[in-house]
Point group: C2
Chain length 231, copies 2
DNA sequence: TAATTATTTTTGTGATCACATTTTCAAAAT
DNA sequence: ATTTTGAAAATGTGATCACAAAAATAATTA
């Protein structure tokens, strides 16, 4: 107990303790460094990050609401287990959500925003070439988030991030058993479509990015991975 | 302070205090009985439901994660204000999400499930004829939730409910200024399509139900309502 | 009278404690 | 050896308290 795979993080001044706990746990789950089935204890986490139960409990509640954690009947809290069916449900939902988010972003896109997307994409390519899977994963998410954020009234990003959180633990398993995560990159295609303000083409690029990326796991491969990981 | 529009609720044995607080606040927001801009205090709510700050804080954090509440920079917590742009964003998102949820439910639908839908729809009609808006609203949501729940791996309901929570406060305003909320009912159409296991027709019925229902508010009407309500 | 300052009250936050439940583990019985 | 029983430890939950920041109110000044 207590030796959680939680890397310390930068903690900006003024950030509350529960917020810090939430961010650290969130990132750990997002990049798959907490195993599905592993149960989390409030006191254990509090000790690991040198605080007390109260703020940790708040962080865990938030993560439960975000779908990242599940509260069992015995009130134990754990990372939900993945199944092939749940995986395909999550991926299809992700595809629908992100295509919509991308479409709604197009009318608000600026050149400045496209430049930023190029920048993030370059950083991701660099992380991939360094074989730094976790960073590449976070930068890939940053790319998508940046795109959808162009829409000033967007209400969809929390939902997209909820999906990412739910897929995270599986990615952690995949990263352990597949030497290198295969990153598909339809980002250049998306950027080109954005420059033309072509909604359909942007949505198509996002759809392809997802279906050829994480959506590319075949059912048999998923079941195989889960079996290997003892799930 | 303290005199919150919070009707007491049935509290099943074994339900924790924070869970109870969450449910009561959630329902109050969902049916629009807490005004946008109204700021909530932890101690005020704790007093109103005869408990203490700790579980109330947890409930408020969850509701923030669900998009129902917003935490300001000064750490005040309030129901977010609505704008015409945000409204249209939420409605378009709701349409996309629920069409997808409906489609994914169709392959799993059972006759038993359709019977249940008929039952809920009848109860809603009855509430409408009693002019009991809040109950009709909750039963309408129950109809949609029941349909999407047919899919055993559904991960979309929390997101749909998040949208409902964000639209709730506006509905509260609308109910005050429009004598009777006009309930569109494409439910029979949806049920007929379900019996035929026709995904496209089901999705079309849900789309129509939303676009003619809450989506039917025109931009000018929304701005007018918000102005009337002093928003 | 209007603006500014000082004081009081309210509020969010997080640590701590007590309690009940659950889990774990060792001892005893079958 | 397996199961059952009992004690000990661990855990979730919620109330309370102290502290700091913020808001509201009172007092003072221009």
């Amino acid at each position: 107990m207590g030796n959680l795979a939680l890397e310390p993080m930068d903690r900006p001044e003024g950030m509350t303790t529960h917020e810090y706990a939430h961010r650290r746990l969130r990132q750990a789950i997002m990049v798959g460094s907490i195993r599905p089935g592993e149960s989390l204890t409030i006191r254990g986490i509090a000790e690991a990050m040198e605080s007390s139960p109260t703020p940790v409990r708040e962080a865990l509640r938030r993560l439960s609401s975000e779908g990242a954690l599940r509260v069992l009947d015995n009130r134990r809290i754990m990372v939900p287990r993945m199944t092939a069916d749940r995986f395909s449900e999550l991926v299809s939902l992700r595809s629908v959500l992100e295509q919509h988010a991308a479409r709604r972003a197009v009318p608000h896109i600026t050149e400045r925003c496209i430049d930023r997307l190029e920048e993030v994409d370059r950083a991701q390519d660099e992380a991939i070439s360094r074989k730094d899977n976790a960073t590449a994963l976070l930068l890939n998410q940053e790319f998508h988030r940046t795109l959808y954020s162009a829409n000033p009234e967007q209400a969809i990003i929390p939902m997209v991030e909820s999906i990412w959180l739910q897929l995270g633990p599986f990615l952690g398993i995949a990263m352990e058993h597949v030497a290198q995560l295969y990153f598909v990159d339809r980002h250049q295609e998306a950027i080109a479509a954005l420059r033309k303000r072509d909604e359909d083409a942007v949505a198509a690029a996002i759809k392809a990015d997802i279906s050829e990326g994480i959506g590319g796991f075949e059912r048999a491969a998923i079941e195989n991975l889960l079996r290997l990981a003892g799930q």
